[in-house]
């Protein structure tokens, strides 16, 4: 895409499906009976009707022992305790913040579950309550861990670790939550010169490498003066477009797939990665390399 404009006709549209084998798993549609035996337990995406277990979403069946759930491709985020999420503050309330985490309901971050600057454990005073907006205000992005899930599905978050807290300069990217692969760590310092936080909720944060973990104070400071150098900016942009390519082709997103996609993308310029053909090409090459290590 050396020229400034790229207009294509719809007839030249590329197929973004890159499934290798044509064997698709059975996809259940809402209302479809999954099983008539009633020894199974009802999981997410299912409901019981006359002793039959039926699907309430369109997706594939997943079974863990007796628990049957149907997992849709597109869904809002279903939180689980211990998940790492990236969220945006939507409201400052009495002693708590509301956070948009792409879940069905806004999540809650209590004032008591954040590390306040200047000391690990201290009592929350009335002043702290008045200062809440100075720590985090509407629009701010945070990384946090899910502390508990309430009965109505509301998530309670905490940032009681130096890794979590307010995010500085960088780019937020939103993908389907089901595309994020669960792994031991969701914080990655990629060797190509950027770090990513793969939130389980589908929010991905890409930012310059964070190297000084010892002098962070719970992360309420943003450095607005510092200019991110061009080189880092380029790798952030490239990673962003690579993840978007993977997401478009519905590939799982984790550190290895991002790295492979990054390496495969080097033959294109960053802007060329916005063109669908290039995106599919990268996704196919990445998939190929991933299947190589599996063997």
């Amino acid at each position: 895409m050396s020229q400034k404009f790229h207009i294509r006709l719809a007839s030249q549209r590329v197929n973004t499906s890159i499934a290798e084998n044509q064997r698709y798993p059975k996809i259940f549609t809402p209302g479809e009976t999954i099983t008539k035996q009633n020894e199974f337990m009802r999981g997410h995406g299912t409901y019981e009707d006359n002793g039959e277990l039926k699907s309430s979403v369109a997706g594939v069946r997943e079974q863990v022992n007796n628990l049957i759930s149907v997992k849709p491709l597109k869904s809002r985020y279903n939180g689980e305790v211990g998940d790492i999420v990236v969220g945006r503050i939507t409201e400052v309330q009495q002693k708590r913040w509301k956070v948009d985490t792409n879940a069905r309901l806004d999540s809650i971050l209590l004032l008591s579950s954040v590390n306040l600057p200047g000391g690990e454990l201290r009592r929350r005073s009335v002043e702290d309550e008045h200062m809440m907006r100075q720590y985090l205000q509407e629009g701010d992005l945070i990384s946090a861990e899910v502390q508990s899930v309430h009965s109505d599905g509301t998530l309670s978050l905490h940032t009681r670790s130096l890794r979590y807290g307010k995010l500085g300069q960088g780019v937020l990217l939103k993908v389907f939550p089901s595309l994020i692969q669960r792994s031991k760590t969701h914080f990655h310092n990629l060797p190509v010169g950027a770090s990513v936080i793969l939130g389980n909720n589908g929010f991905i944060w890409i930012c310059p490498i964070i190297n000084n973990s010892e002098d962070s104070v719970g992360g309420f400071v943003q450095n607005l003066e510092e200019k991110v150098p061009r080189q880092e900016r380029e790798s952030i942009g490239r990673i962003r477009n690579c993840i978007q390519a993977l997401a478009m082709c519905k590939m799982m997103i984790y550190d290895t797939s991002i790295l492979y996609a990054y390496e495969e993308s080097l033959k294109y310029s960053i802007v060329e990665l916005l063109v669908p053909e290039a995106m599919v090409d990268i996704a196919i090459l990445t998939q190929h390399r991933l299947s190589m290590i599996e063997v």
Partner: protein
């Protein structure tokens, strides 16, 4: 969605560096997808997708009487519908103001006969003329509406087939028009100079085109520049804030330059497009 200061700073520095967050430079557009002949009931139609923005334009033609003060001209009207499908903000009368702004801007850009010649639409002077209804439907709203709509309108008008008039019977005050039955005997409209709009967005001290949603939030003001041929047919300042006169001229220069190139790119793709029978709308 509102961005936090740090994100805005990142965008701002990127614009200064001439490397935006998705790797584009300041004068670059995101890839677009174009489709013509999507509505079979319309005389001409086009759909344009620019990243997340999706617009559908259909042209309907009716016979009408020309305005008494302009007896030799046909009529051209624009209707913008911000359907609540696009974003819940448009629900009820929410999108009305935006719709009015866009349709006013379009009719202003098309008002000069140098950009679009309405006299070709006249059938009988002072009595009968063609009236073009250009209906614009916003299916999805992902920023940069003006640009996307102007291109879609231009392509839809290019695609429009005006029926040929075979003969006219004049009997006193009544005028009878006989239109060709054959659908293949139609005339195309001349859209050589139909305006293309470019929204130039000022972020920090620099200007960019085709802002995405995040960049739109960082902008302090923007100027919509409608480029028709080599001229400017409409300039409209939008958004909050004011601009220094020199910045305004900078914006105009940039809009003019980019608009001309964009116009060429659109024409190029139209030449390539197959005559009739494209893919279906919901492919």
């Amino acid at each position: 969605m509102s961005l936090c200061e740090a994100e805005k700073t990142f965008v701002l520095h990127g614009v200064e560096e001439n490397l935006r967050i998705d790797g584009r430079d300041r004068e670059q557009y995101r890839p677009m997808e174009l489709e013509t002949d999507v509505v079979s009931h319309a005389f001409g139609s086009a759909r344009l997708r620019l990243a997340n923005t999706d617009v559908l334009v259909a042209v309907k033609i009716e016979v009408d009487a020309p305005f008494p003060d302009r007896p030799t001209e046909g009529k051209l009207e624009f209707f913008v519908d911000c359907s609540a499908n696009a974003t819940p903000d448009f629900e009820g009368r929410g999108g009305e103001e935006l719709a009015a702004e866009i349709s006013n801007c379009l009719s202003s850009a098309y008002s000069s006969s140098l950009s679009f010649d309405l006299t070709k639409l006249c059938i009988v002077k002072g009595r009968k003329c063609w009236k073009l209804y250009v209906d614009i439907l916003i299916l999805e709203c992902g920023g940069n509406l003006f640009d996307a709509i102007s291109i879609a309108v231009k392509v839809a008008l290019w695609n429009t087939q005006v029926p040929k008039v075979r003969c006219i019977d004049m009997d006193g005050n009544t005028v009878d028009i006989n239109v060709c039955q054959d659908m293949f005997e139609c005339q195309r409209l001349d859209v050589e100079n139909a305006p293309v709009m470019v929204t130039v967005c000022k972020i920090g001290d620099k200007c960019i085109v085709d802002p995405n949603a995040a960049e739109e939030q960082c902008s302090v003001g923007s100027v919509v520049v409608a480029v028709s041929g080599n001229r400017l047919s409409t300039v409209l300042q939008t958004g909050m804030g004011s601009l220094h006169p020199l910045t305004l001229v900078e914006c105009l220069k940039m809009g003019h330059k980019v608009g001309k190139k964009l116009d060429e790119a659109v024409k190029e793709i139209l030449e390539k497009s197959p005559k009739g029978g494209d893919v279906g709308f919901l492919n």
